[in-house]
Symmetry: C2
Subunit: 320 residues, 2 copies
């Protein structure tokens, strides 16, 4: 009992220090979250009253479109507005290190010495629900720590990656000229989630064509929707030279004003919280399941089908 | 009650017709599975005694490496051995059609008129657990329908896609020269899941370098492992000209002999069945949760943290 109390005090202390802007306390809290620490509920309870202020911006796109460069440029643009900015870069885990492959130092780049910037790589854990579990909690840490803007960057091809980016208030989808036509973009499942399209490397051949293709696909998509809908802008940038970044920040601001006006920001945050609660509940229930080995054996042998096995797993009886 | 009996008869009839090699019955069963039909448990029970015979081959790799061409070539190579072959191509869903973007007809290519080949696109549904739920059931349909080889093709970048391919007995990871260095491959999280590496488009500059890089990374990875381990081969192909496909089939056969010898095939199928049972159980439990709206509202307002909310969701009480 006294141990639990001591632990609770530590967590509260960490949260206080994180809220005072101490980067090591922020990093420690994210590690607790990422490791699925037993103290998670305590951490979450301590953070809750301080959340809801940060705006969350998702950045995604295929490899090679310049996501990291754009993230860096965007951090710089927000810093010029005196915003405190945090970045979470979600990397598929390396099988060898078990962690994020690009170290945080590699990513720090321009902002290594800027106390108003916090950058963190998170590894994907390779188990179902891993990302949808840990990333929202990391967002809560950064939100409670008082960052004005949180950028979540993911490789935007897979289903889980799309789900992470869907956590954002505003989602930027990056493309580059010559990275494949509109069908590639649609295949990646990214048309639906974009609030702002960014055609990066716009000094290359084909940038105008890519922008035109996107606008055409946006116009096709809009017909299917009911009610007022946000007109997704297409912005051209050369992130490496900071060109077009002002327009990106403007588009983000416009999108957030639009959402506030149409009640969409609240809607989105309710959906996000609902998904988060459900993901945690599912994970909790999963840990209460008994061992699955005997059931798996019977399914492999064709004696039992997986649905019947699942019912047995839930009821806790290994024999019918 | 009589309706339930009638339904049961229909499902049994469909399964019989699928086992007689009727493609429309196979397609209908997969549709039932994909739509998460209420008849799923009946379908699964009728299939179970007939499963466990097909070998499942996963094919994955980044966009542009030639997955579809390689799948087509592999189908042709297996057809030359008189195997019946089924292909499941998992595409991220289009926001506009809600279904797979590349129609089955586009994919049929060479095999449109071959009764020994069945090709099906499955859309990713965009909800957590969607893929891990539907794809194994589709595999069961095809297995019970008597296909010797089932090829599952996915875009291999995201976490969910990696999980689908992990359903396979043998997983091929495709790369192409000039698609980025070994770090890109490692970032995609695909080194760990490869049983066979295929360097496609091997007539291009850099193919030898890509193969050498892969072999080096494989040698690094092996040191961490205990016990006997499969020596992952690297095969060069030009799938568009059917070059190297014999060697791919040979590598698959060798891998499956190795697995049989080391008890790994059974191990893998037990893990697969266990994951399948758990995914179904989780989904079943999820459907029993009450509405999450009020809890989400309290979380958004900072009144409740998501862990406490999850406990309330599980206990079914919306007020503490």
């Amino acid at each position: 009992m006294s141990l639990a109390v001591a632990t609770a005090v530590d967590v509260a202390g960490l949260v206080d220090r994180a809220r005072d802007g101490e980067p090591r306390a922020v990093a420690r809290l994210i590690s607790l979250v990422e490791q699925g620490s037993a103290q998670l509920p305590l951490v979450a309870a301590a953070l809750a009253p301080h959340t809801g202020h940060a705006r969350v911006i998702g950045i995604t796109g295929a490899p090679g479109v310049g996501k990291s460069t754009s993230t860096n440029a965007l951090v710089r643009a927000f810093r010029e507005q005196d915003k405190r900015v945090a970045v979470i870069a979600v990397d598929p885990s390396s099988p060898f290190s078990g962690g994020a492959l690009l170290g945080d130092r590699v990513r720090m780049g321009d902002h290594a010495t800027d106390p108003g910037v916090f950058i963190r790589s998170m590894a994907t854990r390779g188990h179902l629900g891993g990302l949808s579990w840990a990333t929202p909690q990391a967002l809560r840490v950064l939100d409670a720590a008082g960052f004005d803007v949180i950028i979540v960057e993911t490789v935007g091809v897979g289903q889980s990656e799309v789900e992470i980016v869907a956590l954002a208030d505003t989602t930027l989808v990056l493309l580059a000229p010559g990275m494949g036509d509109g069908i590639q973009a649609a295949k990646a499942g990214i048309l639906e989630i974009a609030d702002v399209f960014v055609v990066n490397k716009a000094d290359r051949d084909g940038a105008d064509q890519t922008a035109r293709d996107l606008k055409y696909m946006i116009s096709l998509g809009r017909k299917d929707r009911e009610g007022p809908s946000w007109r997704v802008p297409v912005v051209k940038t050369v992130a490496a030279r900071m060109e077009g970044l002002d327009r990106v920040v403007e588009a983000i601001t416009e999108h957030q004003s639009w959402m506030a006006e149409h009640g969409e920001l609240t809607e989105r945050r309710l959906r996000r919280a609902g998904a988060e609660i459900e993901a945690i509940a599912v994970e909790r229930v999963r840990t209460r399941f008994g061992p699955v080995d005997q059931l798996a054996k019977r399914v492999v042998e064709g004696e039992l089908d997986p649905f019947a096995a699942a019912e047995l797993l839930i009821s806790g009886n290994l024999r019918p």
